[in-house]
């Protein structure tokens, strides 16, 4: 660390280098920290999380009970112990609350004054953060599984919506109307994602096991569909169309630079695709447990040397190296299936929400302060006094005494036996 700092100061290194090294270290040392808690507001599973990118301070969560909560992540108390407070809540008592499970929430990428939520009650609502009232409500014909706003769009303000219907809907925030539909899927659309690189590029995933890439300027159809066999017909002979997975595809995520696309499916696989040409990079992540019938929200790190992907896997969050497919660690803390996880890119803190109603904060372990040896012992001793729970509690004396007694008794018995033997 010090080496990096001096190199940085001397200008020997690229400024990015220090940043990358440190953020990689932090990601690798993520663990459940009992200094950081998140208020337990949801009375049912947490389906979706989103952290705004402007300040990196507020986090949205949507629950299966229809409740939307805004948390303040910033710790201003100057103590290590911090519980993320719920700043405001669209609770069951609110008259604008979603009637059914909220599937996706997303901050407006350019301002915290607005966020969008979609729900199984067939609506998508655009909320004003100040008043917590919906500024606009979009109605759909089927349950809304997911929606996404382009994080980089300048020329349009479209929201892509995946519903129970096969068509992907495009809603325009400017006009407040459904302006476009994209036809091509043959099943429910479980996940939609805008490319972070090109503002008109959209990826959609569906229960028909296909992932389609679209250019929304082109009306006729999708650009291409991802093929898990890369056009190797011998393997895909049974299927007439290209498939990305052998089951429902329920999660999509672009890498930070938009060059790669990750997809997860209920065939317990995760695949990494070249988003430019739709080529399967054939990275093997092993088995990624995935039983969700709905969309799965997972995330990719930003600015680390090997990039990492955080993907819910059963009741834990698996951390893989993006390009090698190596399983780095499993973050185990939830007691039921995890549905979503989101990474705070500035602090490398991971928040995950699951069916056990918890939102867990995974915080990097702080580097232990380098202290001279003499003080270490003292420090350790004092720590032990701070928390008696960490002490061992071996009871000793009574057993020793008891054994001694029995031993004596034994000797006596043997003597007796010897004596009485004829």
């Amino acid at each position: 660390m010090l080496g990096f700092l001096t190199a940085r100061q001397a200008g020997l290194d690229d400024p990015l280098r220090l940043r990358r090294a440190e953020s990689t270290r932090r990601v690798l040392s993520l663990e459940l920290n009992h200094d950081r808690d998140v208020d337990r507001i949801h009375s049912n599973g947490v389906n979706t999380l989103d952290i705004e990118v402007i300040e990196g301070r507020y986090m949205l969560s949507g629950g299966a009970d229809g409740v939307i909560v805004v948390y303040d992540l910033e710790n201003n108390t100057k103590k290590p112990q911090y519980t993320c407070k719920a700043v405001c809540t669209v609770g069951r008592s609110s008259r604008y609350v979603h009637r059914f499970s909220v599937e996706t929430v997303q901050w407006y990428p350019h301002d915290t004054g607005m966020f969008v939520s979609s729900s199984f009650d067939k609506t998508m609502k655009v909320w004003d953060t100040e008043t917590l009232k919906p500024a606009e409500v979009f109605q759909f014909e089927g349950n809304v599984y997911c929606h996404h706003m382009s994080p980089i769009a300048r020329k349009h303000s479209l929201i892509a919506v995946g519903t129970k219907d096969q068509k992907v809907q495009l809603c325009d925030l400017k006009s407040g109307s459904h302006i476009h539909i994209l036809q091509g899927h043959r099943g429910e659309v479980l996940s939609v994602r805008w490319s972070p690189r090109y503002e008109h590029i959209l990826a959609t995933a569906s229960t028909d096991s296909r992932v389609l890439m679209w250019d929304v300027r082109r009306a006729s159809g999708s650009l291409f569909s991802l093929d898990q066999h890369n056009g190797d017909k011998s393997k895909a002979s049974s299927q007439a169309v290209n498939t990305a997975h052998n089951g429902r595809v329920n999660g999509l995520c672009f890498t930070e630079d938009g060059l790669y696309l990750l997809s997860t499916g209920t065939d317990d696989r995760m695949r990494l695709w070249n988003s430019a040409n739709g080529e399967n990079t054939l990275v093997n992540y092993g088995k990624v447990c995935n039983e969700s019938r709905k969309g799965l929200k997972f995330t990719v790190s930003r600015g680390c040397i090997p990039e990492f992907v955080f993907v819910p896997c059963g009741s834990s969050v698996a951390v893989y190296a993006l390009h090698t497919g190596e399983l780095v660690t499993m973050l185990r803390g939830h007691y039921n299936n995890v549905d979503c996880c989101v990474l705070h890119h500035d602090y490398q803190e991971l928040y995950s929400g699951g069916k056990d109603c918890n939102i867990l904060a995974w915080v990097p372990v702080l580097r232990l302060p380098d202290i001279e040896e003499g003080t270490v012992a003292k420090k350790g001793g004092s720590q032990a006094t701070v928390n008696p729970a960490f002490q061992d509690a071996w009871s000793t004396a009574p057993h020793e005494g008891g054994r001694g007694l029995t031993y004596c008794f034994w000797i006596l018995l043997t003597i007796l036996e010897v004596v009485t033997r004829p």
Binding site: N33, H34, Y335, A389, Q391, W394, S395
Partner: protein
């Protein structure tokens, strides 16, 4: 890490978890703790061992493992870290958080494990919850998602205690109320009961001669004071002792006098004196010997007198003692239906509520008195007259013959005696019931008594009654109309015999006679049957062509017999088996089977005594022989018990398990690895499993397949040429 220590640790864990006991052996547990104390490595090893044991599919193993975990959890920080890190799995295995993976059997142990685990997790949460975040998370998960009610676990004991107390209080209150009520009732009813008792005692006194020993009947009762004085009367006194009656009896002297002759008669019948009765009287009164000899004129003192006093008293109700007996009877019913149940319920209430002694004693005394009174009444053996008749008779002293005594009857009577028929507006029998007419007894009509005997009734009245549908006559008329005329009222020959007697005899006969269906034999009853059994073949109707030989008549014996005879199947009636097999069984009992001839286990049923030994010597000999034969087949030295003993002693297999097929196989052969664990497979001894064993055993399966194959083959053979059968 020392290998020996490590192995020992594994061994200890294995032993402890497989002990199958609800509590761990503290000695072994201490050893485990001691090993774990040495270093972290052992703890890790222990953790892995324990997790494998926890994953076993046996609730007892899991329970023991869990107990060890809870021991270590409170002691070692490192173990806590390890366990909390894998807390999800731990909860899955102990608290059953995953509904897809229920806890393994046996069920009771699993339930115990679950409650224990929940309780323990709560305790852990209380002490370590803050320090170990995942522990807290798990606790909250259980509490909020799994809705485990920790408070209940904690508060149950307290709440239960409270509930119990409340219940007790309520019961007490109820008892108190009951006691109060009972006391009040008793106070009210006591007088009446006592009066009743006095009355009944007096009645008895009146009915009984004093020499009847009343001593045992009245003792403690306060109510029977009056009788107590009677008991003091010397028993030897006979009728003459009347003068010595206590005053209370004297008051009722007249009544007594009335009853006396009756009872004394009864007594004299009972006391049969072998010599003369006067002698007896005298003998008893005389005290002085000489005087005795002088007075009686007997020669010797050596006469022996046998007094035959029968214990049974028999009282007969007569017109003299009627009033007393009636009163007594009323009192008896009063006591038995009203007072005694009431007193009994009081006693019950008092004993249940645990009231102070005097009250209970009083109630019990009352009850005893009543019981005694009833007993006394029973001892009297009073023969009551039939009440109804007495009621009838009471006003009837004028001896009028207007009313004849008739047995009571209700409603429609199918059988009306002949002499009453007229009264009912009917004409004469013999055909009162349809069954009679259809029954195929030899026709008896001509014997039947005739109408003319009762010519009195005017016809029109009968007709009137016929019109009334509620009258029995109309019903009979209907029957009559339905039946062929000839059968209904055939004129009787009215021979010299008394027709009434005849009719009675016949009707009795008819009751016994079976009803059988009409048949050809009855059709030809008493007739000559020229054509019976002959088949007459018609001549050919053809004009020219005549068959060569025509046998015109064929005598068919079978047919002929059929026409003349009748088969009656005699099935007999079912006789239930009364005897038992009674062969002695190994468990000491006697075989309870009730087979008619042969017991499937002990062979032919032979008469046996209570110990199961055959009573007939030849049976015994036969059984002995058989036993001997069986012994022969298995030589003495191969006695299974002995062999097993030897095997146990030497540790070598002599094949005792092989020699005896059935009974001994399971015991000796495979020794269970962990004998204390309850066997999960053993519980499969259900009716279903037994049936399965029968149905799916290879030989029966083979039989079934054989039969089915055969059927298949038959079909193929039969329909081989038909394409649609040939194909399958």
């Amino acid at each position: 890490m020392d290998h020996a220590q490590r192995d020992k640790l594994s061994e200890l864990v294995e032993e402890l978890t497989n002990s199958g006991e609800p509590q761990l052996n503290p000695k072994k547990l201490n050893e485990v703790k001691k090993i774990c104390k040495i270093s972290i490595d052992y703890i890790e090893h222990f953790y892995h061992l324990i997790m494998t044991q926890l994953a076993q599919d046996h609730a007892e193993i899991r329970l023991s493992a869990f107990q060890m975990v809870s021991e270590l959890f409170t002691r070692s920080h490192h173990f806590r870290i390890l366990l909390v890190d894998n807390f999800q799995e731990f909860l899955d295995l102990t608290v059953e958080t995953d509904s897809d993976e229920p806890l393994p059997p046996p069920k009771e142990v699993a339930r115990k494990l679950k409650t224990l685990a929940i309780k323990t997790v709560q305790e852990w949460q209380a002490t370590y919850g803050e320090a170990y975040k995942k522990l807290a998370l798990g606790y909250h998960f259980l509490k909020q998602v799994k809705k485990v009610d920790f408070h209940d676990v904690q508060a149950r004991s307290l709440a239960e205690r409270k509930r119990e107390e409340e219940k007790k209080e309520r019961l007490n209150r109820i008892y108190k109320e009951k006691v109060e009520k009972a006391t009040k009732e008793m106070d009210e009813a006591k007088e009446e009961i006592e009066r009743c008792l006095t009355e009944i005692n007096n009645c008895m006194k009146l009915l009984l001669p004093t020499e009847f020993d009343l001593g045992d009947l009245k003792t403690t009762t306060e109510a029977t004071n009056s009788i107590a004085s009677v008991s003091s009367v010397p028993n030897e006194k006979t009728n003459t002792s009347m003068d010595d009656q206590p005053c209370c009896s004297k008051d009722l002297d007249d009544g007594r006098k009335r009853t006396d002759p009756e009872t004394s008669r009864g007594m004299s019948a009972d006391e049969e004196v072998e010599d003369s009765s006067e002698d007896e009287d005298n003998v008893e009164e005389v005290v002085d010997e000489d005087a005795f000899i002088r007075n009686t004129g007997l020669i010797s003192h050596k006469y022996s007198l046998d007094l035959n006093l029968s214990e049974d008293l028999k009282l007969k109700e007569t017109e003299e003692n009627e009033a007393v007996v009636n009163t007594m009877k009323d009192l008896y019913t009063l006591i038995s239906t009203k007072h005694l149940p009431a007193v009994r319920s009081w006693v019950q209430v008092f004993t249940k509520a645990g009231v102070p002694d005097p009250l209970l004693r009083q109630a019990i005394d009352l009850k005893n008195c009543l019981d005694r009174a009833l007993q006394k009444h029973k001892d009297l053996h009073i023969e009551y007259k039939a009440r109804q008749r007495r009621v009838m008779k009471a006003p009837e002293s004028s001896d009028e013959d207007d009313f004849e005594e008739v047995p009571e009857k209700e409603g429609f009577e199918p059988h009306i005696p002949g002499h009453l028929r007229e009264e009912y507006g009917l004409d004469e029998p013999p055909s009162t019931s349809v069954a009679c007419k259809l029954s195929v007894q030899p026709p008896v009509n001509h014997h039947a008594p005739s109408v003319p005997q009762f010519p009195s009734r005017p016809r029109n009245r009968t007709a009137d009654e016929d019109q009334d549908p509620t009258c029995a006559a109309s019903t009979l008329r209907l029957f009559k109309q339905r039946l062929p005329k000839g059968l209904v009222s055939s004129p009787s020959s009215g021979g010299g015999v008394d027709p009434k007697d005849m009719a009675r005899d016949l009707s009795e006969d008819r009751k016994i006679a079976p009803v059988i269906p009409f048949g050809l034999d009855l059709y030809y009853w008493g007739k000559d049957q020229p054509t019976a059994g002959r088949i007459i073949k018609n001549h050919s109707q053809h004009q020219f062509w005549v068959p060569t030989e025509v046998e015109e008549e064929v005598e068919n014996k079978e047919l002929a017999a059929h026409m003349k005879s009748r088969y009656i199947t005699f099935a007999g009636s079912f006789q239930p088996v009364k005897h038992r097999c009674k062969a002695p069984m190994p468990n000491g009992a006697l075989c309870e089977r009730q087979d008619r001839v042969k017991c499937p286990f002990h062979g032919r049923i032979i008469p046996r005594d209570d110990l199961g030994k055959p009573t007939n010597p030849e049976d015994a000999a036969r059984l002995d022989k058989e036993e001997w034969k069986r012994r022969e087949e298995q030589p003495d030295w191969r006695d299974p018990e002995l062999m097993r003993d030897i095997e146990l002693a030497t540790g070598e297999d002599l094949g005792s398990s092989k020699t005896f097929g059935k009974g001994n196989k399971g015991k000796g052969k495979r020794k269970k690895k962990y004998p204390n664990l309850s066997d999960l497979k053993k519980s499969g001894n259900t009716s279903r499993s037994r049936l399965e064993k029968k149905v799916f055993n290879p030989s029966s399966m083979r039989r079934v397949t054989d039969v089915m194959n055969k059927m298949d083959k038959l079909k193929h053979a039969k329909f081989a040429n038909q394409f649609n059968y040939a194909l399958n």
